[in-house]
């Protein structure tokens, strides 16, 4: 009888336990989050202990003494300790369930982490924590709905949080694999990290501001939230049946205060949404730049090399679940962890070099590499000098070419004394080939001068040290070509035995368009400038005429096909350049029947913004030189347009064919040449296809028809011929 009684009571207690426990927790949690973990021993734990001692123990004493016939105290001190440890384990279960939200709320959730650190004492609980967190991140973070940027930002928070939780990084090590695996599938991850590292000082400053605002915001929110939280707390005291829901609803607004928009839209409050959107609105992981620039963190990495700090009073043994080869990491190295998570150093360095190259070439003012240099120095410390030597050379190239540019320019200036106006700046890129193996790319910027139509500046790149830059073929405007030639001569005069190869598409041009009612000044790329210059040509024929005559003409029109034949530029590129000018309100796409008669995809200059759609206005697109004579706009436009063209070349990244496909075709052609040179001088198509299928390790996906088409192309190019019996063979040269 007695035994049954006590069993029943125990069962009832268990229910009360968890219910009261959670209720207690949820109220405590509010305090914790607000307190942002100021004290080392978590206030949450203190109050929980207090509650167990003063309320729960008393209650159980009360109940037990009533049901027990024994005299004497039914609740001993050791019982109290048991209750307390039970309470702690409940707390840790709760925290583990919340961990993902805690991570998202970093750094406002330090208090919750203190709880967790105090309560996860056994390895079983550690295991529970990691597996639960992995599960949570899988369902909430690692799905296609999250942008790579968001994942990376969360990852940084995870690193912070777990480091605060466990300095040994063992827990982090258990959680990371699934994240890493997922990030490897995201192709843009490396690029985002690198651009984050290279974020400009302005972006960093902006991020700092956002950070400060977000710090202030919780304060403000606190005031507004209290009633709400209080109401929920009140609800939590309600019926014992609903403890779970109560606990959860009251904790989300607190723990996920700062940016919870990832997975819990329900918990969003108006105040917190803008913070997140501003943070990710920059589109960059500016946190990384912040970390990189943080002097305290930098010092940390310096100390990192020391073997063991014997004076470290905070030393604790390695955790029990550490692996045999476990090596204690010394500092919270967010960048290092992130980079290692993204795969090998090689991949990272390669991406870094590519991005640095892009940035170096696109910088209009080559004097400012501060950010690049600083990042480079830090990365060097991490990866060693040798790995990043290419970057050094690249930066030096840019600096050298600036000097060289001045030298060449001075040589010209000696020949002519002109007042130099600098209306138009253009640039193209060149490759110079010193010998068969060495090439350098040049980027030029041109500026128009009064007599000298454009100012041309080049950047000379040592080809060996730069990532491969494709050359895009198109015809520059004649004046630009002349400039290039002159520059080339100047260069070869200074450095004999070297030759320049121009990478036309990489330049930038400042273009001034003089339209009837306005002047448009744009910095654009060489292909864009080239395209717009092409609209100028027709007028040039009449350029000596007065303006009135010009005015009587229709605005210039061009079709894509015309541009294709005059510029020899890739059609997709032409279209994208035209769209660029359409977006600038300089061109308009014609849809009228008359225009359609001229051929598809006709574009016309918008000479005057007030023009009606059907316009007879004349199109005069002028690239002005600063001294542009108002009476002879056509001439000015002609000169200016040329610089524009060289800029346009910059843009030619979109190429006709997928580069991978192009690469494959080149490789297959090598196989076919090898086959017909060595195996047999002539072969039928089926046998060639069979050989290719057998010999190419990755497989040969083409059907016989596709191979036939490819061979037909080669025949058209004069590389192959068909001989008797339908056999193919190489044309002997």
């Amino acid at each position: 009888m007695d035994w049954m009684m006590s069993a029943f009571v125990c069962g009832a207690y268990a229910g009360v336990w968890s219910a009261t426990d959670r209720r207690g927790l949820s109220s405590v949690l509010n305090t914790v989050s607000r307190g942002t973990g100021s004290s080392v021993t978590s206030p949450c734990i203190i109050s929980l202990m207090d509650w167990v001692e003063n309320h729960f123990a008393r209650l159980s004493f009360e109940v037990l003494s009533r049901i027990s016939q024994d005299s004497g105290s039914p609740v001993t001190l050791s019982d109290l300790e048991t209750y307390q440890s039970l309470a702690l384990s409940r707390l840790s279960t709760l925290r583990i369930a919340e961990l993902f939200d805690i991570v998202l709320a970093w750094p406002d959730s330090r208090g919750a982490l203190d709880d967790l650190r105090a309560t996860i004492t056994t390895s079983a609980r550690r295991l529970q924590l990691t597996s639960h967190f992995t599960q949570a991140s899988k369902t909430r973070l690692l799905h296609p709905g999250c942008s790579t940027l968001e994942i990376l930002e969360t990852y940084i928070d995870i690193i912070h949080t777990f480091h605060a939780l466990d300095h040994s990084k063992v827990l982090l090590g258990h959680v990371e694999p699934s994240l890493k695996l997922y990030l490897w599938q995201r192709e843009d991850a490396v690029r985002i990290v690198v651009t984050g590292l290279l974020a400009s000082p302005e972006a960093v400053r902006a991020a700092r501001k956002v950070k400060e605002i977000s710090k202030q915001q919780p304060e403000r929110q606190k005031a507004g939230k209290r009633p709400e939280a209080g109401a929920r707390r009140g609800a939590g005291k309600g019926p014992v049946v609903t403890p779970t829901t109560t606990g959860r609803s009251s904790r989300t607004p607190n723990t996920t205060r700062q940016r919870d928009d990832l997975q819990e839209p329900s918990s969003k409050t108006p105040g917190e949404t803008p913070i997140k959107s501003r943070a990710s609105g920059t589109g960059k992981l500016v946190e990384l730049a912040l970390l990189l620039n943080d002097p305290t963190k930098t010092r940390h990495t310096l100390v990192e090399d020391e073997e063991l700090d014997w004076n470290d009073m905070n030393w604790v043994p390695d955790p029990v679940d550490a692996g045999a080869n476990y090596k204690r990491p010394k500092s919270e190295d967010v960048i290092g962890t992130l980079i290692s998570a993204l795969g090998s150093e090689d991949v990272f360095i390669k991406e870094f070099i590519t991005i640095v190259a892009e940035r170096l070439l696109s910088l209009s003012d080559p004097a400012r590499f501060d950010q690049e240099l600083r990042v480079l120095d830090l990365l060097k410390r991490r990866f060693g000098e040798a790995a990043l030597q290419n970057c050094d050379v690249m930066i030096k190239d840019i600096e050298d070419s600036r000097r060289l540019d001045v030298a060449i320019r001075r040589a010209w200036d000696e020949q002519r004394t002109l007042t130099a106006a600098t209306p138009v700046t253009m640039s193209g890129h060149f490759l110079r080939s010193a010998d068969k193996r060495k090439k350098a790319a040049l980027q030029r910027q041109q500026q128009q001068q009064q007599l000298e139509p454009t100012q041309y500046h080049a950047r000379i790149l040592s080809r060996l040290f730069w990532p491969t830059l494709d050359r895009e073929h198109f015809l520059l405007p004649d004046p630009i070509v002349e400039e290039q030639k002159r520059y080339e001569q100047g260069y070869e005069h200074l450095k004999s035995n070297r030759k320049l190869t121009w990478l036309n598409q990489l330049g930038t041009v400042r273009v001034e368009l003089e339209l009837r009612d306005r002047t448009v000044t744009v910095d654009c790329t060489t292909p864009q400038a080239t395209v717009i210059y092409a609209f100028n040509d027709s007028e040039d024929a009449d350029s000596d005429d007065t303006r009135i005559e010009i005015d009587n003409k229709l605005p210039a029109r061009r079709t894509v096909d015309e541009l294709y034949s005059t510029l020899q530029m890739d059609e997709d590129l032409i279209t994208s350049c035209l769209e660029y000018w359409v977006s600038k309100n300089v061109l308009r796409r014609l849809r009228s029947p008359t225009a359609a008669a001229q051929g598809p995809h006709t574009y016309m200059v918008i000479e005057s913004l007030s023009d009606p759609i059907i316009d007879e206005d004349q199109p005069t697109k002028d690239y002005d030189d600063p001294f542009g004579n108002p009476t002879s706009p056509a001439t000015a436009s002609q000169e200016a347009a040329q610089p524009g063209e060289s800029l346009a070349e910059e843009n030619n990244k979109p190429s006709t064919m997928d580069p991978k496909e192009q690469e494959r075709r080149t490789m297959y052609w090598q196989y076919i040449k090898g086959m017909l040179t060595n195996a047999s001088a002539s072969m039928p198509l089926a046998q060639m296809a069979m050989m290719m299928k057998m010999l190419i390790a990755d497989g040969f996906p083409w059907t016989n028809e596709e191979l036939g088409e490819f061979l037909a192309e080669k025949i058209a190019e004069g590389e192959m011929e068909v001989v008797s019996g339908g056999k193919y063979r190489l044309v002997k040269k």
């Binding site: 090598q670 090898g674 060595n678 195996a679 001088a681 010999l695 390790a697």
Partner: protein, 170 residues
């Protein structure tokens, strides 16, 4: 040599595959390398019968040697334990050269005792290409050619042209 022959089958047995499979795989990789980064003046490809252990190769006679402008065809026969043993390389095109005999056999150390698995078809072809310009006259297979090389380059050139005959596979 004994070691080489012993080690390769063991390797194959461990993986439970035909030892020739390893050679075939290696040759596929080599072929891929040859195709993606071809060296100027040399090329090679498996023979038309589809046997990956038997290749045909071509060397363009290097400029400024008596063989300039000539196209020289070779055959490669790879053993099943390749690359642990060297391939058998023969000139199929008749060639007049101090280190090649009249049946096309070649005297080159890396094809005999100096062979290591680090060599491959491309390095062998490049070695042969440089051998055309710099024969090893200390150990000739064709004594007359070795003598003429230094004594009478003009006569040597004539002999080369006399002996050369383009072969056609068809």
């Amino acid at each position: 040599m004994g070691d080489i022959q012993n080690s390769a089958p063991t390797l194959g047995a461990r993986k439970n595959v035909d030892p020739g499979q390893n050679a075939v795989k290696r040759l596929q990789t080599e072929l891929m390398q040859l195709m993606t980064s071809p060296a100027p003046g040399v090329s090679a490809f498996p023979s038309a019968d589809g046997n990956l252990l038997s290749w045909r190769a071509t060397i363009e006679g290097p400029d400024e040697t008596p063989y300039a402008g000539l196209t020289l065809k070779l055959s490669f026969e790879f053993p099943a334990n390749y690359p642990y043993a060297p391939p058998t390389v023969l000139f199929r095109t008749p060639i007049y050269h101090p280190n090649v005999d009249f049946s096309g056999r070649i005297c080159l150390d890396i094809l005999k005792d100096k062979w290591t698995a680090a060599y491959n078809t491309q390095t062998v072809l490049l070695s042969l290409q440089s051998l055309l310009g710099e024969p090893n006259n200390a150990s000739p297979l064709n004594g007359e050619a070795a003598e003429l090389w230094d004594k009478d380059p003009t006569l040597f050139k004539t002999k080369v042209m006399d002996r050369h005959k383009d072969i056609d596979d068809d």
